[in-house]
Each structure stands twice: as structure tokens, then as C-alpha cells.
């Protein structure tokens, strides 16, 4: 796994972004995310009649002087989120010259940095086989992130991955932020249950599907015998011609459509990325366009 570079200028740009969490945030106090409930932030929200027992420091005495009635000033509440990022570390993510693994790590690191910039808590997990390995656990603050970022370079991609089997047993929090799954989703294994599980936990779910250029637009022709990088027993032997390529394009459409539709049906976000797209394009372009970041 090669080193990836996130330079100072890029990080400064990233700091200008903000994560938008769809669900009503129920995180810890002290974060940057405004919730629908009233709290103690500085941002005025509304008035309501004073009820005995209310904090009298929040009474608007100017309004009392004008209307001769006690009104209480209400302020929006701000909570701290816990962003959880799951990276598929199967061999298919890092085989050949696709660059999917590097892209996954870059995006994961960038999103993690974005989260800590917003005073959120960040955890990064590696999905390997049927288990989840903690790469970074609940760090808060830029300093902690900088100290932990080297761990991204230590991730190794091998074996198979079972997303649902890995995430379902884990504690994922409840309504306290965003869960991001980064994978190529090129598997017959079940991943829908994981999405359902996270959605049930009132988390904002974002599935990022990364595919290499060869997977998106194969140029190979002629007689080939493919072997699957994750399982040598899985092979494909064919004379690839125009007909097969057409069928492949339809299969690709089906596979991406499958996860896109599933996410859409569950109010989860889905993003298809090329492994060759720059992180800047992904963050400032596609993620901003779809409203995950602003």
C-alpha cells in the first residue's frame, strides 16, 4: 500500500466544508451540529411563554417591558457527532492497477479530518472477513487525528469481506452521526442487512462504491481466462467480443443500480466513484452536489 499525500493546502480547503447529517442528531453535547431540539447555543430560535420553573435567566425582559408578559428566549441546541467510517479491506480493493484501495483510504482520511474539524468524534474501521477491526477509535480534535493518520498507511488488503456479517455485531451508536461504508461492493455477499442495521440505528448512512477504470469500461478483447483475486476458484473463461462487453455494461448497471436503489429506498446516500477521480473532485464536486457536504 503506497503512501498518499494530503497536503496543507488541501486540508485548508477541506476545513471550509461541513458535513450535513440528515437525521435528528442525538449526540453528545458540545459539538458543532445543530439539532432540531432547543439547547444552549448562541443561535436564537424562538419565544415561548414562561412556565414556572424555567430558567429565569432566559426571560426576555425587553419583551416583558413591552407586552407586560413573561417570554422565554429559546436557542438551538448543538451536539457532537460520532462519524464512523468502514473500509472494505478485501483483496479485490487492492488488486492490479485499479487504485481502489488508495482512493478508499484517501477519502476515508479526508472525511475523518473533516469530522474532527467539526469537533466530532471519528472512528475508522477495517472490514476484513466477517469482522471489523478498529483502525482509529473515537478520536476528537485535529491533534489526535494527525497523530493517528499514519495508521491509514498500515492497512493491508487481503482476503474476502462480508460487510453485513462484520457490521451487524458491532455497536454503531444511535442517531449520533454518519456511517460511511467504502467498498467496491463487487460481491454476492450480503451488504443490505448492514445498511438496514445502520439506518435502524438512525444513523446517516453513506455508501461509497469505488470502481477502477477497467471495471467501469473494460477494454480487453479476445480469448481470456479471468481468475478472481479473492478466490482462485472463481473463474471466467470467454472470448470477449462486442456482445460480451454489452452484457458486461448491463451487469455493471445492474450491480450499481442494486445498491443505489437499495440506499435510495432507505433514505441512505450512495455515491459511485472512479478510482482515478481526485479526492478534491469527490469532495467538492460530487459530495457537495448530492448534499452530503456543504
Amino acid at each position: 500500500m503506497g503512501k498518499f499525500v494530503i497536503d496543507e493546502a488541501f486540508l485548508q480547503q477541506v476545513e471550509t466544508l461541513q458535513m450535513l447529517v440528515k437525521n435528528n442528531v442525538a449526540g453528545m453535547f458540545g459539538g458543532n451540529h445543530q439539532t432540531k431540539s432547543f439547547g444552549s447555543s448562541c443561535e436564537f430560535s424562538d419565544y415561548r411563554d414562561y412556565i414556572p420553573g424555567d430558567d429565569i435567566t432566559k426571560i426576555d425582559w425587553n419583551a416583558y417591558a413591552r407586552f407586560d408578559k413573561l417570554y422565554l428566549k429559546l436557542y438551538l441546541d448543538e451536539r457532537q457527532m460520532h462519524t464512523r467510517i468502514y473500509i472494505d479491506a478485501s483483496r479485490s480493493m487492492d488488486y492490479g492497477k485499479g487504485g481502489k484501495a488508495e482512493q478508499a483510504l484517501k477519502i476515508a482520511a479526508t472525511l475523518a479530518y473533516l469530522a474532527v474539524c467539526e469537533m466530532d468524534k471519528v472512528s475508522v474501521y477495517i472490514i476484513r472477513g466477517k469482522e471489523v477491526e478498529e483502525l482509529i477509535s473515537g478520536i476528537v480534535g485535529r491533534e489526535a487525528f494527525i497523530n493517528s493518520v499514519h495508521k491509514f498507511n498500515e492497512v493491508e488488503f487481503f482476503g474476502d469481506s462480508y460487510i453485513s456479517e462484520a457490521i451487524l455485531p458491532e455497536k454503531v451508536g444511535y442517531g449520533d452521526g454518519m456511517s460511511i461504508i467504502i467498498s467496491d461492493f463487487l460481491t454476492e455477499n450480503n451488504y443490505e442487512e448492514a445498511i438496514d442495521y445502520l439506518v435502524d440505528k438512525r444513523r446517516h448512512v453513506l455508501c461509497m462504491q469505488i470502481l477502477s477504470r477497467e471495471e467501469l469500461n473494460p477494454i480487453i478483447r479476445g480469448k481470456v481466462h479471468f481468475f478472481d483475486s479473492e478466490d482462485i476458484q472463481r473463474t471466467y473463461r470467454k472470448h470477449i467480443d462486442r456482445e460480451i462487453i454489452k452484457a458486461y455494461k448491463k451487469a455493471l448497471e445492474y450491480a450499481t443500480g442494486r445498491i443505489r436503489n437499495y440506499c435510495m429506498a432507505r433514505n441512505a446516500d450512495y455515491l459511485l466513484l472512479s478510482a482515478e477521480a481526485s479526492v478534491g473532485e469527490v469532495l467538492f464536486g460530487e459530495m457537495v452536489d448530492m448534499g452530503v457536504l456543504k
Binding site: R91, S92, M93, Y95, G96, G98, K100, D184, L186, T187, E188, S212, E214, E215, I219, I220, R221, G222, K223, V224, H225, F226, F227, D228, S229, E230, R234, T235, Y236, R237, K238, H239, D241, R242, E243, I244, K246, A247, Y248, K250, A251, L252, Y254, A255
Partner: protein, 623 residues
């Protein structure tokens, strides 16, 4: 089937190579990829569920093998033989002047060539072609038993018509020779003439009854009674009755001297007379301006031969009457006369030049003239370059001169028609001869008195060793005859006539001391006949005026002659008796061949290239 280039079959080595390439390329390429999930999934979306049959995969290979075999065979150039399908052809092409007649914008000659071209094009390969072109000047085999169509067509395209009358005698002999070798030969005579019989020869008559007028003859003579020239032009219309204008031009091409309108009856010659009052003319032309199929024979020119052959004479004499009278009676001499005293004055500023004949009577010039014939009478002093020396003047007594005839051609010419009249001289000069001279008269003692030869400049020289005052010579009949002979000897006519037909030979009497002869044809082509002979010959091939330029002793003399279309060639419907090849024709045929596979080769190569292109596009996604 035979092969012209059997080595081309080496290309069949390409077949096993192709199979080896196919076997190598046909192996499955093993490759590990990130995931086979999508490829496996694509099976569900594949319309063609069944694997194509093996044969379908081999179609490309089979096609390529077929193409390689076909290309090899094509390079080997197989020749397909078709028994008895080819012929031997002999075409005899009439290139006479009448073949220049036009119909619908094409001359008969072009139509004749097209007829031959069509037959060659339609013939099967393997045929043998002989083309004999018969022109006015020669009978030429322009394509001799060639099997190459292109060569035959190329030779045919280069054939040009002439303007004269042709004889098919030689062509018939040539065709007979080929016919004797191959009795199956097809002989075609392509002409505009009709034949009463043409055995073993197929006649292709390309004449089509075109209208043609012609001026077939012109004569001009001096009518002394009318003091005018009487010109008679013979004209004819060959195809139809009609009225034509006949124009006469003399010395001026812009203004006709006279125009007459004549009614002509088809095929009947008519003589038109013109009378022109003038003293002389250089040339005349009779023209029919009406448009017809052969305009070349619508005019005839005649150059005045007397003017052409005229010369200037310088006569130095105290008493020139005898000589000038004699010269004027025998030729068209323009005589310039000087007395010895006058001439002596002229000589002080330089001797005159530019004369054809110099006559010195009782006068000794300072030097021998360089550019003309010279006659000396009673030359009483030696003169360098003459070839003889003055020795002495004899005593005054009457001497009878003896005519000396020898068998030499010069002597015969000079003494021709002389009657041998007795000539007496009272006084004569004795000369010593050291150049070869022809003595005409001598004394009984053998002293040469009248002799001829050439001087140091190569010009004619005539010497009389006495004066007319001391002789009865000028009153005897032989005087004028001898003068005529001497004029012809000294200044022979360069041209015998100035009017010819195309195909005739122009005879040029080469004067002594002539250094160059140039003949300029009507098309501007220059010819330089040799000058070292007495009579140069030149064949007049095209109609029009030929200019003859002679350089004699540094002086250029110009003559014109006109060559017209022969009368026989003007006739549109000439008929000959027969054209017959002796012998019994047979059905003998040659083997036809077909080897024109170049387009097939190109087609195969293109198909091969396309096939490989498609293969590479499909295999390597070239775009």
C-alpha cells in the same frame, strides 16, 4: 492451365504460417482480476446464450487461408488456355491522301484506325496482330506478328496518313507471306477504295460518299497576241453537281485577281480560263473556297519557273550587242552592262558581286569573281585562279577552228545539237591549261580556243580565245546553240519544275560551288540534303509550299515548289480491280489465353487487408 511465374506459388508457405499464428493467437490469455463478479453477472445479460459453433470461429482463418492461396496463385499468374479461340490478324491500313477526307469531324484515317482498334480489343488474348501501314512513301509493317494487344494498339495510334497515292503491291506481298505461313489468318484491308473482288481479304471501306471539290491541274502560258498570261485551271466535283467559286491569286494572297463562279457536274472535269495582263509573276494560286471533306486539294499553286531560275548577268564589253542578244534569246538573264572603262572605275572601289554570270569581253578583271560563273572573251593577260595562262597572241591569219567532241558527259552536253559549222578566226590567243578543261574548239595545230572548266572557286568558267570582231562565229547557226549550252553549263536550272504531287521526288540540280542545301517543308521541318552530288532528291510528303535554299559561293538563293494532293487521291469513290491473297483459307485457329488477374489480385488483397483490420479492431480495440 500453366503458370507464368511459378515462384509465386511459394506464397503458399503463408498457409501453414497463418495456421501457426492462428493456433498461437487462439490460446486463452490467463489473467487475474480484482473480481470476476461483474463478468459472471454479465452472463445473465448475454443475448447469445449458446457458444458459437467452432466453425464460426474458424471462418476468419478459412477466409484468410483462401485469400493467401488465391494471392499466391495470382502472383504465379496462371494462364488459362482456350483452344482454338484466338486468331491471327493482318490489318492493311491505307494511309493515302484520300484517307484525310473528313466525315462527321473524323478523317477516314481515324475511322479506319478505330475499326482496327475495335477488332483488336474484341479479340481474345493469344491472338497475333500484324499491321501494315501503306503510305505514299513506303509500305511499313508497324506491328509484326505481335501477341501484345497494347503494343499493337500503340503502334496503330502512332500511324499517320500521308498525302500521296499509295500502292498496295508491297502490302499484298507482305500479307501473302503471312497468309502462306498461316492459312487461318484473317486479313483486313481498311481503305476508302472499292474493290471488285477481294479474295481471302475482308474489305473495310471507310468512305462514305463525302462531297469533295478539287483543283486537279493548273497551267499558265504567255499569250503573246494578247500580251497576257493565260491560266487554265481544271476543277472537278466528285460527289454532286453544284456551283463553286474559283479564285485566282497572283503574287498577293489577300486580293484575288479574278473570281469566277462555275457550275460543275458530278465527276466531270471542267477547265476554267483566266487571262491576266501583266509582264511577269512569281506565283499564282487557284482556289475553290467551298468547304468540303478534303480542303487540301481545293487549291493549287504554281511558281513561275522562269523567275525561280533567273539570274543576273554582268557584262563588261565595248560592244555588248552580240552577247546580250544571244543571252536574252536563250534565257531569262537580267543583264547589267559596263564598258571596260566604266568597269575599271567600278573596280577601284571594289569588284561587284552578287551576279550569277560574269562576262568579260576584251577586258581583264583585277581578280576572278568569287560568286558566279565567268566567261572570258579574248583574255589577253594571265589571271590568277583561272586555271590557265596567257601565252601569246597568234599572227593575223585565218584559222579554221575544229569542233572537238569527246565521250565525256560534259563534252556531250556542251556540244549537243551543234551542227559543226565552219568557224574562222583571224586572230586568237594561245593559252596554257593547267586545270582540267573541256576543249570545245581547237586549232588544227591543237591549240585550245574555246574551252570550259572550273576556276579556283569551283565556279564554271568559259573561255573564248578570240574576239567576235575577228571571227564569223556570231553569224553561224551554232552560235546560239553553243550559247544556250554554255548558259546551261554555267548556270544550270536548279529546278526542272515547280509543281509536284505529294509522294513525288523533288529533284534539285546542285550548282557547282553549292555549299549548303536546305529544304523547308510546309510544316516548318528543315531537311539538309547532301551537296556533293549533281542532283539531290527529296520526297515531298505533305501538301504545300516547300522552300529550297541554296548557298552558292556564299550567296543564298531561294526557290519555291508546290506539292499538291494527287488527282487520284481527291476522288472520293476510287475503285480498284482486286485485292487477292493466293491460296485456300483454312479454319486454323490459335489457342486463346486469359491471364488478366491483376484486378482479382487487388480485390483479394483489399479483402485480406479488411479482414485483418477487422480482426485487429476486434482483438485490440484499435480506435
Amino acid at each position: 492451365m500453366t503458370f507464368i511465374h511459378p515462384l509465386g506459388l511459394l506464397g503458399l508457405i503463408g498457409v501453414p504460417i497463418l495456421i501457426i499464428i492462428y493456433l498461437i493467437k487462439n490460446k486463452y490469455t490467463e489473467q487475474t482480476i480484482a473480481s470476476t463478479y461483474l463478468w459472471t453477472l454479465s452472463e445473465k445479460f448475454l443475448k447469445r446464450k449458446k457458444t458459437p459453433p467452432k466453425l464460426v470461429g474458424l471462418i476468419s482463418l478459412i477466409l484468410q487461408i483462401i485469400i493467401v492461396i488465391a494471392i499466391s496463385l495470382t502472383i504465379a499468374n496462371p494462364v488459362f488456355i482456350f483452344s482454338d479461340k484466338a486468331h491471327e490478324y493482318c490489318f492493311i491500313l491505307d494511309a493515302s491522301g484520300s484517307m484525310q477526307m473528313e466525315q462527321d469531324g473524323n478523317t477516314r484515317f481515324e475511322i479506319a484506325k478505330e475499326e482496327i482498334r475495335e477488332r483488336i480489343d474484341d479479340s481474345m488474348k493469344g491472338s497475333v496482330y500484324t499491321i501494315v501501314c501503306v503510305s505514299a512513301t513506303e509500305t511499313k509493317v508497324i506491328c509484326n506478328q505481335s501477341q501484345d494487344k497494347e503494343e499493337a494498339l500503340s503502334a496503330l495510334s502512332k500511324a499517320e496518313p500521308s498525302y500521296g497515292t499509295v500502292s498496295f503491291v508491297n502490302a499484298l506481298e507482305i500479307a501473302q507471306g503471312y497468309f502462306n505461313e498461316s492459312k487461318g489468318m484473317e486479313t483486313y484491308l481498311v481503305t476508302d477504295k472499292s474493290y471488285k473482288s477481294h479474295d481471302n481479304v475482308e474489305l473495310i471501306n471507310v468512305s462514305d460518299g463525302e462531297q469533295n471539290y478539287a483543283v486537279v491541274g493548273v497551267t499558265c502560258e504567255r499569250d503573246s497576241a494578247l500580251a497576257a498570261f493565260k491560266i487554265e485551271a481544271t476543277i472537278v466535283s466528285f460527289e454532286e453537281d453544284g456551283a463553286v467559286d474559283v479564285r485566282l491569286y497572283m503574287d498577293d494572297t489577300n486580293v484575288a485577281v479574278e473570281v469566277k463562279t462555275e457550275n460543275l457536274v458530278k465527276g466531270e472535269e471542267k477547265t476554267v480560263q483566266f487571262y491576266v495582263e501583266r509582264n511577269s509573276y512569281a506565283w499564282l494560286k487557284v482556289e475553290i473556297p467551298n468547304a468540303d471533306s478534303l480542303m487540301t486539294d481545293n487549291e493549287k499553286m504554281q511558281y513561275n519557273l522562269e523567275v525561280e531560275n533567273s539570274y543576273d548577268t554582268l557584262l563588261v564589253s565595248e560592244n555588248p550587242k552580240f552577247l546580250s542578244w544571244a543571252l536574252e534569246s536563250v534565257g531569262n538573264a537580267n543583264i547589267k552592262t559596263y564598258s571596260p572603262k566604266e568597269y575599271a572605275e567600278v573596280e577601284k572601289t571594289g569588284a561587284p558581286t552578287g551576279y550569277g554570270l560574269y562576262i568579260y569581253d576584251n577586258y581583264v578583271p583585277n581578280e576572278v569573281p568569287v560568286d558566279g560563273a565567268v566567261w572570258y572573251f579574248n583574255l589577253n593577260k594571265s589571271l590568277e585562279g583561272t586555271g590557265f595562262t596567257y601565252q601569246a597572241e597568234t599572227a593575223e591569219k585565218e584559222v579554221a577552228l575544229r569542233l572537238k567532241k569527246t565521250s565525256s558527259s560534259t563534252s556531250r552536253k556542251l556540244t549537243a545539237d551543234l551542227q559543226g559549222a565552219q568557224i574562222y578566226v583571224a586572230k586568237y590567243i594561245k593559252y596554257g591549261l593547267y586545270y582540267p578543261f573541256t576543249v570545245l574548239y581547237e586549232t588544227p595545230t591543237g591549240d585550245p580556243v574555246v574551252f570550259t572548266g572550273t576556276n579556283v572557286y569551283g565556279n564554271s568558267e568559259v573561255v573564248f580565245g578570240f574576239s567576235f570582231e575577228n571571227s564569223n562565229f556570231s553569224i553561224v547557226p551554232d552560235y546560239v546553240i553553243l550559247m544556250r549550252n554554255l548558259v546551261e553549263f554555267s548556270f544550270p536550272d536548279v529546278l526542272e519544275r515547280a509543281e509536284y504531287d505529294c509522294g513525288e521526288k523533288l529533284a534539285v540540280n546542285v550548282p557547282p560551288a553549292c555549299t549548303t542545301i536546305k529544304i523547308k517543308a510546309p510544316n516548318g521541318e528543315m531537311t539538309y540534303p547532301a551537296t556533293g552530288i549533281e542532283a539531290a532528291e527529296y520526297v515531298l510528303t505533305i501538301p504545300g509550299t516547300y522552300q529550297l535554299l541554296l548557298t552558292v559561293s556564299g550567296e543564298e538563293r531561294s526557290y519555291n515548289v508546290y506539292a499538291g494532293i494527287p488527282k487520284t487521291e481527291s476522288c472520293v469513290t476510287a475503285t480498284e480491280d482486286s485485292f487477292r491473297l493466293q491460296g485456300e483459307a483454312s479454319d486454323e485457329r490459335l489457342d486463346g489465353k486469359y491471364d488478366d488477374l491483376i484486378f482479382f489480385f487487388i480485390l483479394l488483397f483489399v479483402v485480406f487487408a479488411i479482414d485483418w483490420g477487422v480482426y485487429c479492431y476486434d482483438k485490440y480495440q484499435l480506435r
